[in-house]
C-alpha cells in the first residue's frame, strides 16, 4: 500500500478525504471535468496524482471522462472520476458500458438538486435513483452513501474494493454538505485498511477467454495490452468477448451480470442502527440526512419517545431484507431525504409499512428539528 503523509487527526473536507482515500486505495488514474460541487476532488488529484506517478487528465466533457477511466482500468490501473448531477447524467451511457464490459471503476457524484442545472451550490440527494437506474438496461451497480468526512474516506476505499472484486462501476454518492464540510478526521491505521485487487487470470494468452464463466460468476481479468489480445465490446457478447446473437448466450450474460451482485449482496450491504431494540419509530436515513437524524433521535429519546435510526451505507443493492427484519416491532417509518422521496418507496416495499416522508428540495438541509417534529407528531 502506498504510504501517504498522515497524522493521526486532521481537518479535512469530504471532497479532500475522498481524493486522499482514492490514492490510499491505489487509484492512479483520474479523468474528470469541472463541476460544482465536486471540483475540489479534481483539484486535489491534479496536484496529488503526478506526485504519485499517476495520471490526472481534465477531459473535454463528462462523456470523455467516463470513457477515459474505463479504458485506463482495462489496462489494470484503478481509475475514477468525480462529478455532479448534470455531469453524472452525461456519464450514464458509458457507465452502462463499464457494467456490460465488467470494467472496475469508481464514479463520485456530489449531488445537486435537479433536474437540469438545478441547484449547483446547494445540498441535495437527488441522484439516488439516477445512480441506480441512470443507464439503460438491467445492469449491476453498487452505490454507497457516507455521511461524514471519515465515512467518506472509508467508503471511498471500500468502493474501490467493491469495483475490483465484482468488476462493476461503483458510485460514491456525496452531497454538498459532506463534500464541503470541514471536519476532524481520525485516519484509520494502515493495518486497519483492507485493499482488494481484481483477480487476474493464470491462463496463458493462448487459452484465455476474457469472459469465461467461473464459479464466482466474476470473470478473471487480464490487463488489456499485456500480451492477451482480446476483444472488448458493449454489445452482448459470449465468453470469448465477441458479439453474439445466440439467445442462450445472451440470456446467460445478462443473468450472470446481475446475479453477480444479487448473489453477494450480504457481503456488500452495510448499515448501522442505534436505539432500534425497543423502538416503535424508525428513521431510515443516509448521507447528510443521517447526521440530522442522529441528533433528532437523541433528543426524542430524552423526551421519552421510543425511536431509533437505520442508517444505510450501501443504498444499492438496497437492504430490503435487513430492513424487513427490524420492521416487526416498528409502527412507523420516517424517511428524511433531500429529494421528493426517492428512497421512501423502497423502504415501504421492504417493510410493507406506512412510511412518513420528510423532504426538502429547496436547497436547505433537513434540520434535526424538522425530523424531531415529525417524530413527535408520529408518536402521539
Amino acid at each position: 500500500m502506498q504510504k501517504i503523509n498522515r497524522q493521526d487527526a486532521k481537518l479535512m473536507t469530504g471532497n479532500e478525504a475522498c481524493a486522499e482515500a482514492a490514492i490510499v486505495a491505489g487509484m492512479r488514474f483520474f479523468a474528470g471535468y469541472p463541476i460544482t460541487p465536486s471540483s475540489e476532488i479534481a483539484e486535489v488529484l491534479s496536484r496529488r496524482l503526478p506526485q504519485e506517478k499517476g495520471v490526472f487528465i481534465q477531459m473535454e466533457d463528462e462523456l470523455a471522462s467516463m470513457a477515459a477511466i474505463i479504458a485506463a482500468s482495462l489496462t489494470g490501473v484503478k481509475s475514477m472520476t468525480a462529478t455532479s448531477g448534470p455531469g453524472f447524467s452525461l456519464m450514464q451511457e458509458n457507465i452502462g458500458y463499464a457494467s456490460m464490459a465488467e470494467v472496475p471503476c469508481v464514479i463520485v457524484s456530489v449531488q445537486r438538486g435537479g433536474p437540469s442545472t438545478g441547484l449547483p451550490t446547494l445540498p441535495s440527494q437527488a441522484d439516488v435513483m439516477q445512480s441506480r437506474w441512470g443507464t439503460h438496461g438491467d445492469h449491476p451497480i453498487i452505490v454507497v452513501t457516507p455521511s461524514t468526512v471519515r465515512e467518506t474516506f472509508d467508503w471511498t476505499i471500500k468502493s474501490f474494493n467493491f469495483a475490483e472484486r465484482f468488476r462493476v462501476p461503483v458510485v460514491v454518492l456525496l452531497d454538498e454538505i459532506i463534500a464541503h464540510i470541514t471536519e476532524k478526521i481520525i485516519f484509520p491505521k494502515e493495518e486497519e485498511i483492507k485493499i482488494i485487487e481484481r483477480k487476474r487470470t493464470k491462463e496463458t494468452p493462448e487459452t484465455y477467454l476474457p469472459y469465461k464463466y467461473t464459479d464466482s460468476d466474476i470473470p478473471l481479468f487480464a490487463d488489456f495490452g499485456s500480451g492477451y489480445r482480446y476483444n472488448v465490446t458493449g454489445l452482448s457478447h459470449d465468453e470469448t468477448g465477441f458479439p453474439t446473437n445466440d439467445p442462450k448466450k445472451i440470456d446467460a450474460l445478462y443473468r450472470r451480470l446481475n446475479q453477480k451482485i444479487e448473489r453477494y449482496k450480504n457481503e456488500i450491504i452495510e448499515f448501522k442502527t442505534e436505539f432500534l431494540e425497543d423502538a416503535e419509530i424508525c428513521v431510515v436515513a443516509y448521507g447528510s440526512s443521517a447526521r440530522s437524524t442522529y441528533r433528532a433521535i437523541r433528543q426524542a429519546r430524552e423526551a421519552g419517545i421510543k425511536v431509533g435510526i437505520f442508517q444505510i451505507f450501501t443504498i444499492w443493492p438496497f437492504p430490503y431484507e435487513e430492513l424487513a427484519k427490524v420492521s416487526h416491532h416498528i409502527k412507523k417509518f420516517i424517511v428524511p431525504e433531500m429529494n421528493l422521496g426517492q428512497i421512501a418507496h423502497e423502504v415501504s416495499c421492504a417493510t410493507r409499512c406506512d412510511v412518513i416522508k420528510v423532504n426538502r428540495v429547496d436547497g436547505g438541509l433537513i434540520t434535526p428539528d424538522e425530523i424531531l417534529e415529525r417524530i413527535k407528531h408520529v408518536s402521539v
Binding site: 504519485e52 462523456l63 470513457a67 474505463i70 490501473v77 465490446t233
Partner: protein, 270 residues
C-alpha cells in the same frame, strides 16, 4: 500475396459489410501499413466507436476495443495515457468522429496525443440505414434528407489541421497503395495523426443518389482526385468539387503523453 491471415481473426468471417463497401479496402491497407511498420501485434490497440467502420476491430487480431458511439477517441486517450507503450489506432466514420464524437476529435488533436485516427468517410450513416452525416454533400439525398441535404459539410482533414493535428493525409479507396503509405507514416508519427479515406457506400449513399455501383464510385474518386502538390498551383474555382489527396499537413509539436511524463518526473517523489 500479402499474408493477411497473420492479422485476421478468420473465425469471425464472413464480415457484416455490404458487397462493394470500402471498409475492407481500408482494413487491408491498415494491415499492410502495420506489417511494413514492423509493429508487433501485442503492441497495437485498435479502438472504435459505433458504425460500419467501427466493426473493423472484431476482424483483426490486436488488442481490440469496440466502444460507444462517438467515444472511441476518448477511450483511446485513456488507454494511451494509462499505457503509453501501446500503439493506438482509432477507426471511425464521418458520423462517429465528427458529429457525435466531434468534441473528442478536436480535443485529441489539440492535445496532440500520440494516436493514429483513420476515418472512413462514406458521406452517410451506413449502419443505421443511410441517414445524412456531417459530410453528406450539399444537395445529396439521404434517408433523413429526402429532398437533398441543405447543410454545409465538414472538411474532416481541415478540421484536424485547425484543431492541432500534426500529421494529416487524405486518400480514397481507389488509391489503396497510396493509402497504406499514408497510414504507415501516420503510425510512425509521434503525435495525433489523421488519415481521412473516402470510402464508397454503394447501398445507402450511391443508390438514392443514382451514383451507380461501387466500381462507379471508385472511378469517380480516380477521376476527381487531385494530388495536393498539383492542387496548390490551381485556382479555387478549378478545385471546387475535387478531392485533394496527399499528405496535407506534417509538422512537429510537443506530444501530450511525453509532456505528462516530464511533468511526473518533475513533481513526483521517488
Amino acid at each position: 500475396m500479402f499474408p493477411y491471415e497473420k492479422y485476421l481473426r478468420l473465425d469471425k468471417f464472413p464480415h457484416i459489410w455490404c458487397t462493394g463497401c470500402g471498409c475492407g479496402i481500408i482494413m487491408k491497407a491498415m494491415l499492410r501499413a502495420i506489417e511494413h511498420s514492423k509493429i508487433p501485434k501485442d503492441s497495437i490497440a485498435l479502438v472504435s466507436g459505433i458504425g460500419c467502420s467501427s466493426r473493423t476491430p472484431g476482424y483483426v487480431d490486436f488488442n481490440t476495443l469496440h466502444t460507444t458511439h462517438g467515444r472511441a477517441i476518448a477511450f483511446a486517450t485513456g488507454l494511451k495515457l494509462a499505457k503509453p507503450e501501446l500503439k493506438i489506432i482509432v477507426v471511425s466514420g464521418d458520423g462517429d468522429a465528427t458529429a457525435i464524437g466531434g468534441n473528442h476529435f478536436i480535443h485529441a488533436a489539440r492535445r496532440n496525443i500520440d494516436m493514429t485516427v483513420i476515418i472512413y468517410n462514406n458521406y452517410i450513416y451506413g449502419m443505421t440505414g443511410g441517414q445524412a452525416s456531417p459530410t453528406t454533400p450539399l444537395g445529396k439525398k439521404a434517408s433523413t434528407a429526402p429532398y437533398g441535404s441543405i447543410e454545409p459539410t465538414f472538411d474532416i482533414s481541415g478540421l484536424a489541421i485547425a484543431a492541432g493535428a500534426t500529421f494529416v493525409a487524405r486518400s480514397t479507396c481507389y488509391h489503396a497503395v497510396q493509402l497504406d503509405k499514408f497510414i504507415r507514416k501516420g503510425l510512425l508519427k509521434k503525435g495525433f495523426s489523421l488519415i481521412e479515406v473516402l470510402s464508397p457506400c454503394p447501398i445507402y449513399y450511391a443508390r438514392p443518389n443514382r451514383e451507380g455501383t461501387s466500381v462507379d464510385m471508385l472511378r469517380w474518386y480516380k477521376e476527381n482526385s487531385i494530388p495536393i502538390e498539383v492542387a496548390r498551383k490551381m485556382s479555387d474555382t478549378k478545385k471546387e468539387g475535387k478531392i485533394i489527396t496527399g499528405i496535407l499537413h506534417n509538422i512537429e509539436r510537443a506530444e501530450f503523453c511525453e509532456e505528462y511524463r516530464k511533468l511526473v518526473e518533475r513533481v513526483s517523489k521517488n
